[in-house]
Amino acid sequence: MSIREVIEVLNVMEADGVIERYAIGGAVGATFYLEPVATFDADVFIVLRPELGKLLVTLEPILDYLKSRGCSMKDEYVMIGDWPVQFLAPNSPLAEEALERAIEIDVEGESARVFQAEHLAAIALQTARAKDKARLLQFLEGGDLDLGRFHEILERHDLVDRWSRFERQFLKNTP
């Protein structure tokens, strides 16, 4: 199964009310704006709310739905066809905002909801693993980033100092 078919499944899940809202982040999300980014899995962010009468939030209804449609579990992933998909609840106000403001992009007739480039870049700055820094550089080099919007996000989420350090480390020739 291709990633486009995974997107179809996500749209059906949303239409069936199994998930309230989803958005694709991570490397698959970045591929919408950059050159294809090699990845083993797909990160799908979802709004998670507790079931009626329950206090705890759980992925169980989603997993049950997908299992009833032939999907299997592998570690923390749901295998949708060949693709390991990780359903994630936003773990920061930045990720929450990214999910809330994600945009719809047409993939050959199928609509995919994806984090905006500026949010993906800000999340890469916040996460700051080596691969995230490399991705942020790709976003900056690609020139598709709206720098005004990117800086607004950095200010809203207290990332300005981190950005200054990143700039000094990677974008300026002087130490």
């Binding site: 591929t31 919408f32 050159e35 294809p36 990845t39 083993f40």
Partner: protein, 56 residues
């Protein structure tokens, strides 16, 4: 940096830009292929590691 190294870097950058500009459907198909290739390499690497750890 030598002229040759700079040319290689410029050419890679230009190829990446060209890939980034392709239609999204095409980029996602490339992603599918890259994942298949990664999975094959990963499987081979695991098999290789296991074969090395077996007593001879």
């Amino acid at each position: 940096m030598s002229h040759f190294s700079q040319r290689v870097i410029d050419s890679k950058r230009s190829f990446r830009r060209e890939l980034a500009a392709r239609p999204i459907g095409e980029k996602l198909r490339i992603l599918d292929k890259m994942r298949e290739r990664d999975t094959t390499i990963r499987r081979a690497a695991i098999a290789f590691k296991e074969s090395r750890s077996k007593p001879r």
